[in-house]
């Protein structure tokens, strides 16, 4: 049984016009990102100042630029305490530039901190691979109204990371430097305060080093400095992104409402496929809804987590829809229109989604309380994270294998259908089958096109950021190209779902004959029922319509 969809009643000329219009809209999405938005994110580098704190942290005093007793050469410094807690690395964020004290803005949406450890080659300070590094990190903030050096406590944490460094052979001499990997330091889910101050100590427990030289900070080599890189989303990009979402949300919502009304006007229950499309549209509305406007007024650090969850929901529903769409087009399958028949395949998607959900909840959830948390910093966390990602990857691969298998079955079914004898003799049956084939081919091609564009946009983002980044590239047209791929992919995602809602809504041309639709297996009734002449006449008219356009 097949309900007629809009796409079956469109002429090729109308379809071409629709596609051309959508292409223009897609290009407009791309150009909005290219012209109006700056690059999606920017950074600021802080070479941390090394200061001496005679109280060794016991006074609770903040060390900043103005009260810093600078240690100019760390390697030539003679410490007076046996655990080196008097050495403090300091960064005040953000810098003052052009004499103006810059401020962090809620438009930045998040603050990400990456730490780079500078290690110099030394025959005395032995660096050992996979060296445990433990940092005592203290992060303070200051409001705009506070006095200049009046810092409040934000979070204090003991941060454990693994320091991974390599060194070229020609660098193994005095003054040579190791090439160390970057370490994740912190992630704040919102940019809540205009100023931050970071104090970092690297204490060494001498007794523990004697007992077990794999203890923290025993094998990190000759440390010469710390370098902090702060990354945030550009406010201009946030502005364009939020307005794009604000514009698209009502469009998708109206289309969804229209689709829902069309389904409700049917005399029959909605098909599984129709319900899947409805759910896909609903998840897109949830994804598009510009809830981030709130973050500009209130400090809501978990919005980053909510955005992750919304994306996860959308992709879960999208993958499920693809599976159901392929399955529902196995024309002779008697298990159609039944969600239970997809239980086995859907379980892979659910498993993958749950795995990534667990990982994201652990990482971002705990970072709500401790921004310095990293799931990779503890053995248990690493195992859970590895397990979650591994299970998700396996499930995703299995899902795609089954999806391609089902698509292959559909194609072979289509071939066998066209060569079947009954296809040649029954005009009414051939029209129904042809409609099903047409729907399947259309969506398949459209999905492949959108997937190709999304993947290309992803790689262009990576290439653009890595290659075009430079001091002179700022003025070129390509500066905004990375943003263009963001808005382009966003636009394509919306256009895809909108086209599904429009094209696969029940056709109103079948409304009058809805109560007379007969199951396609009852061929004898078609021939014998006199009232069916009207139905056949409608089908004939529908078939002839494209030829006359």
């Amino acid at each position: 049984m097949a309900g007629g969809a809009v796409i079956e009643n469109l002429s090729n000329r109308k379809l071409f016009v629709i596609f051309a219009g959508l292409l223009v809209i897609q290009i407009m999405f791309f150009l909005i990102g290219a012209w109006y938005a700056p690059s999606p994110s920017s950074y600021m580098e802080f070479e941390m100042i090394t200061c001496r704190d005679e109280t060794k942290g016991l006074s609770g005093e903040w060390i900043h630029r103005d009260n810093c007793q600078q240690i100019s050469e760390l390697s030539e410094y003679t410490p007076s305490s046996f655990d080196l807690r008097e050495i403090v690395f300091i960064a005040k964020m953000p810098h003052t530039r052009d004499g103006i004290e810059l401020e962090y803005s809620p438009w930045f949406q998040f603050l990400l901190g990456v730490l780079h450890v500078d290690v110099e080659y030394s025959e005395h300070f032995k660096y050992v691979a996979h060296a445990p590094l433990e940092l005592e990190v203290r992060m303070g903030y200051r409001d705009k109204e506070s006095k200049k050096n009046e810092w409040k406590e934000l979070v204090t944490s003991n941060v454990t990371r693994i320091l991974e460094c390599t060194i070229a052979e020609d660098e193994k001499k005095a003054g040579g430097t190791y090439d160390c990997d970057m370490l994740d330091l912190f992630e704040l889910g919102s940019s809540s305060y205009p100023f931050y101050l970071i104090n970092i100590r690297i204490p060494i427990n001498q007794q523990a080093c004697q007992f077990d030289n794999k203890s923290a900070n025993c094998q990190i080599g000759k440390l010469t400095g710390l370098r902090l890189i702060e990354i945030h989303q550009n406010g201009g990009f946030t502005l364009v992104w939020l307005w794009t979402k604000t514009f698209m949300t009502p469009v998708v919502a109206i289309c969804l409402w229209w689709y829902y009304n069309r389904i409700n006007q049917l005399a029959r229950n909605p098909l599984l496929l129709e319900r899947a499309i409805l759910l896909l549209g609903l998840s897109l509305v949830i994804l598009d809804f510009p809830i981030e406007w709130i973050s500009l007024t209130y400090r809501i650090p978990f919005l980053l987590l909510i955005s992750d969850l919304r994306q996860g929901l959308f992709y879960t529903v999208l993958f499920s829809f693809w599976l159901i769409f392929a399955g529902e087009h196995l024309i002779d399958d008697n298990t159609r229109n039944n969600l239970k028949s997809y239980r086995f395949n859907l379980s892979f998607i659910i498993t993958a989604s749950l795995g990534l959900l667990i990982y994201d909840l652990i990482e971002r959830g705990i970072q709500l309380y401790d921004p310095f948390y990293s799931v990779w910093s503890s053995p248990t966390g690493s195992q859970i994270a590895y397990f979650a990602i591994f299970i998700s990857a396996i499930s995703t691969v299995a899902y795609f294998i089954f999806l391609f298998f089902k698509i292959a079955r559909v194609w072979s079914t289509i071939k066998s259908k066209r060569s079947a004898q009954i296809y040649q003799t029954s005009e009414n049956r051939r029209l129904k089958v042809e409609g099903v084939i047409y729907r399947f081919k259309f969506l398949m091609l459209f999905t492949l096109l959108c997937s190709a564009f999304t993947i290309a946009a992803y790689f262009m983002k990576q290439y653009g950021e890595a290659q075009l980044h430079g001091d002179e590239a700022r003025d070129g047209f390509l500066t905004g190209s990375t943003s263009a791929f963001f808005t382009g992919a966003f636009g394509m995602c919306n256009i895809y779902v909108l086209l599904l809602l429009a094209m696969y809504a029940p056709s109103h041309k079948h409304y009058r004959g809805a109560s007379q639709l007969i199951d396609e297996n009852d061929d004898d009734e078609i021939m014998e029922d006199p009232s069916n002449q009207h139905t056949e006449s409608n089908a004939m008219t529908t078939f002839l319509k494209p030829s006359t356009d």
Partner: protein
């Protein structure tokens, strides 16, 4: 029972190696013969920057731009000056056992005599000073010592909110160009060579930039990638320029030169005739290492070897509670010094 002493060496704690390094540092051979041993103690950086320019820079006659900048941006001038000093020190260390060793070259901001000639050595000093000044300012900007570092475009808080401030090292390079480029309409060949070498120094900073990227996004995936660049250490930049110095080219009017190459106008003077090498450290040796070539450095005047016995701390061990106990070890060193008497005429 303890195993072989070799095993214990590798288990030394970081603190004990601190002390070892301090001991070694205090016994390091002087980089310049006759120079005072040890490092000059400097006041904390905030005080240096607040005092303003010293009088020699404030009244600099050769570079008028430095005079002007000392009144408007003294912190930038001081950072550039200190960068140049550090660059010269790196050069001296790097060329320690070469005939010309970068010593007595003088800071470019003091307009030394060497920079009034078009020698090969002048080209290195121009380029190294330009690079070191840029490095010094860029580093001070990254450390937050200077408040008037510029972003890539003139901006305030609104522009920062919109598109960020990716100043990178560009401000340091701009400051170096403005401070060290002489103004005026003099268009001699020497001036042209000077400008070329200064630019080569600034390009050396760009050529040695280190690029890094960070992936971030949903669940830490690479949904978005942010990249940045940072300067190499001044030692690396010095090595880069010393390599360029070794391959510097003689400049004539019809020369075709790359912007990254160093060029010079005159052949270098004979170092043996230009200045006295008397008392210069020409070689250094301990039980495991040997450095230097006295026959070449001493201009045939011969040299004398001084045997030194240095007491260093080794096998440091932490004793509970809070005591560091080290053994005293003996290390033998042989320092070779050039003989000879100074000649009567000096060019430098």
């Amino acid at each position: 029972m303890r195993a072989a002493p070799f095993d214990f060496f590798f288990q030394s704690t970081a603190l004990s190696t601190f002390f070892i390094l301090c001991s070694l540092a205090t016994n390091e051979i002087p980089t310049i013969s006759g120079a005072p041993a040890g490092k000059i103690v400097q006041p904390p950086k905030p005080n240096i920057l607040k005092q303003g320019c010293p009088s020699d820079l404030l009244h600099s006659r050769a570079l008028r731009s430095i005079q002007l900048a000392c009144r408007t941006h003294p912190a930038t001038v001081i950072s550039a000056f200190e960068g140049v000093q550090e660059g010269l020190q790196n050069c001296a260390n790097r060329l320690r056992f070469q005939q010309w060793d970068c010593s007595e070259a003088g800071n470019i901001m003091h307009d030394p005599p060497l920079l009034r000639q078009g020698f090969r050595e002048s080209s290195l000093i121009w380029a190294l000073s330009s690079a070191s000044a840029a490095w010094g300012v860029a580093t001070a900007c990254a450390q937050g010592w200077i408040d008037d570092c510029a972003c890539n475009n003139q901006m305030g808080q609104n522009e920062y909110e919109f598109g960020g401030c990716t100043h990178g090292v560009q401000h340091g390079i701009t400051a170096s160009r403005k401070l060290l480029t002489k103004v005026g309409a003099v268009n001699t060949l020497l001036r042209k060579v000077e400008k070329h070498n200064l630019k080569a120094g600034r390009l050396a900073i760009k050529k040695t930039l280190i690029s890094s990227c960070k992936c971030h996004g949903v669940s830490g995936s690479c949904q978005q990638k942010t990249c940045w660049k940072r300067t190499a250490t001044l030692e690396h930049i010095t090595d880069y320029l010393v390599e360029k110095y070794a391959r510097a080219k003689l400049y004539t009017d019809d020369s075709v030169v790359k912007t990254t190459d160093l060029i010079y106008l005159e052949a270098s003077p004979d170092v043996c005739k230009a200045k006295s090498v008397a008392g210069r450290v020409c070689a250094w040796r301990n039980e495991t290492h040997t450095q230097g070539d006295c026959d070449r450095l001493c201009c045939g005047n011969g040299f004398s070897i001084r045997h030194e016995v240095v007491r260093v701390k080794c096998d440091c061990e932490f004793v509970w509670c809070c005591n560091l106990v080290c053994k005293d070890c003996i290390q033998h060193r042989w320092i070779s010094t050039c003989n000879g008497t100074p000649p009567k005429s000096l060019i430098f």
